[in-house]
Amino acid sequence: MLSRAPRDLTMAETVRGPGGARVDLLQVSEMVEPGSRVLDVGCGDGELLRLLEARGVDGRGIELSREGVNECVAKGLAVVQGDADTDLASYPDDAFDYVILSQTLQATRRPRDVIEHMLRIGRHAIVSFPNFGHWRIRLQLLFYGRMPRTANLPETWYDTPNIHFCTIKDFNDMCALVGARMERAVALDPWGTALKIDAPWWFWNLFGEQAVFLLSRKP
């Protein structure tokens, strides 16, 4: 059974799967090869790092919020206080097998630079983000003429940390622009279930509430 769990650092309400883990994080963690080296950018309270640890992954994290970092470090996770926009530059090329950005892309100042750094630092990048092309969001703007607010994105326009929303199609375009190869993509419905794998992009873009992409550098 899926249930709505209390607020985490980026989203007010999040769908959780059996065992209480966020479904998008479960999707992300399944994309990671066991035993690999991972950097989780915007790791929040360390939930994903914990999931990955259980898979024998050597995980590191970056988190902007002081509370998140201190909670992680007190749990013994290797997390540093830092900013995806400025601190990725200090990491060397190919330092990790995977660099993960879960539900943080839309809060960065320069999303394209962040993705490019991720592809430089890691052999793979995994990005999950809320899809602004979801039909409910489209309908809210169309019918009410106001900035959409949903269970996953509850903040008003003036206090949201999310400054760079995109749709699945938009993200696709940017991946092509930065020369990223798409290895896997999954769109999730509001209940966290993966949409049909062979559905066309327009379908995902309309019915996917969030998306998870596994990218790698084009050789």
Binding site: D58, R60, R66, V69, N70, C72, V73, A74, K75, G76, L77, A78, V79, V80, Q81, G82, D87, S90, Y91, P92, A95
Partner: protein
């Protein structure tokens, strides 16, 4: 200055041997003595011997010798980290952090803390007796560096038969030693906690130290460092140095919250230079208690050692090279209101460690208590240190 040796002898006989000289030569601590066969090789080129290291230990070393934690003390600290201080009678300077059930748990770890070389609590320093003259070294003591302090600590560990440390922990000047350990002896450090520190002393910090040193040296009783021999004491100079330095350990907010503009035991200003304000009275107290337990020449030597510290310069100007290939687990901690060792300094350490692919945690703790926060009851600090050590202990197999 014109005191003849004979006169000095009489004076020395008249005054009771100062407690600091006694503590320097015969400390109430465990002692490791190294003779001429094992000199301490100093950065200034001197092979120093004989010399001794005074240290305290807490807890017990496990059979594999894998649970040793070295605590490096700060500028005015000493080895009495978690026991009653033999000179002041007060509790240990890090009682809150070190002890049974504390974050650095002496039920689990074998904790070692040694007085730094150049200090005044029993490890060789300027107040120790020079065997060649029978008088305290004073300025004849060689100038030492952070690296020298660490080198001395490695000799202590060899003496104790400990190859590898589970953790090296320290704040401020202690944090500098931690970083030096990780750079010079990475294979001997499993995990490291540099707190409220930096890889180099900033121009501002050197400037503050210089003011402190000038205050000591301007005291006519300093006598070019020969005050013990001449039976004087540069109390006022050292006290002023301490007062100035103490301000840098706090923050504007903390000072204001603690004292505001309140008067000390009076309703109105006295229109004099008495300590009208509480903050003045507090600083004077800090100064006068400090001189009871600290040697003025040690203050000169240790501030100098901090000034000289520049880890990047030792590695061709590239800090990342100082930690290249390190396998040590790091936990770097800074405090928001620390303007002496601001977060930017810690962040530079973290970036250098990231560049080397090190396993590093970095937390900035929100507090208005300034640099001194690392010594205080900061629940987040205690939680982070405990969590980090627990996790490192599991990785090392000493915590189940």
């Amino acid at each position: 200055m014109s005191t003849t040796p004979a006169k000095a002898e009489t004076k020395k006989a008249e005054t009771k041997l100062p407690v600091l000289v006694r503590e320097a030569d015969h400390p109430r601590s465990q002692l490791a003595v190294f003779d001429h066969r094992k000199p301490l090789q100093l950065d200034c080129g001197v092979a120093f011997s004989p010399f001794q290291i005074a240290y305290q230990t807490y807890g017990s070393l496990d059979a594999e010798k894998s649970n040793a934690v070295l605590i490096c003390h700060a500028l005015t600290g000493d080895q009495h980290v978690a026991n009653v201080h033999p000179v002041t009678g007060k509790g240990g300077w890090w009682d809150i952090m070190v002890g049974p059930g504390r974050p650095i748990d002496t039920d689990r770890y074998f904790v070692i803390c040694s007085n730094v070389v150049g200090g005044c609590m029993g490890t060789s320093g300027p107040s120790s007796t020079n065997p060649l003259t029978g008088e305290p070294y004073g300025l004849d003591f060689p100038v030492i560096t952070i690296k020298d302090m660490v080198r001395a600590q490695t000799m202590l560990l060899d003496h104790l038969g400990i190859d590898s440390l589970f953790a090296v922990v320290g704040g401020s000047m202690g944090g500098m030693q931690v970083l030096e350990w990780c750079s010079s002896y990475p294979e001997r450090v499993f995990s490291a906690l540099p707190i409220a520190t930096a890889t180099r002393h900033s121009a501002q910090n050197i400037a503050f130290h210089e003011v402190g040193r000038q205050a000591v040296m301007a005291d006519p009783e300093w006598r070019n460092g020969r005050y013990f021999v001449e039976g004087t004491s540069p109390r006022r100079g050292l006290s002023v140095a301490r007062m100035g330095a103490h301000i840098t350990y706090l923050s504007d907010t903390a000072l204001h919250r603690k004292f505001g503009r309140r008067f000390q035991d009076r309703e109105n200003p006295t229109f004099s230079f008495e300590a009208d304000f509480e903050v003045e009275s507090y600083l004077r107290h800090q100064g006068s208690t400090f001189v009871e337990r600290f040697d003025a020449n040690s203050y000169l030597y240790l501030t100098r050692a901090m000034d000289y510290f520049d880890l990047a310069a030792d590695h061709g100007g590239v800090l990342a090279k100082a930690f290249k290939g390190t396998r040590t687990r790091f936990c770097v901690i800074s405090f928001t209101s620390d303007w002496l060792f601001p977060t930017s300094e810690s962040r530079a350490v973290v970036h250098a460690l990231n560049a080397g692919g090190a396993r590093v945690s970095f937390a900035e703790i929100e507090t208005d208590k300034g640099h001194d926060a690392f010594l205080l009851d900061e629940p987040e600090l205690l939680g982070i240190v405990r969590g980090f050590l627990d996790s490192a202990g599991r990785a090392r197999g000493i915590v189940r």
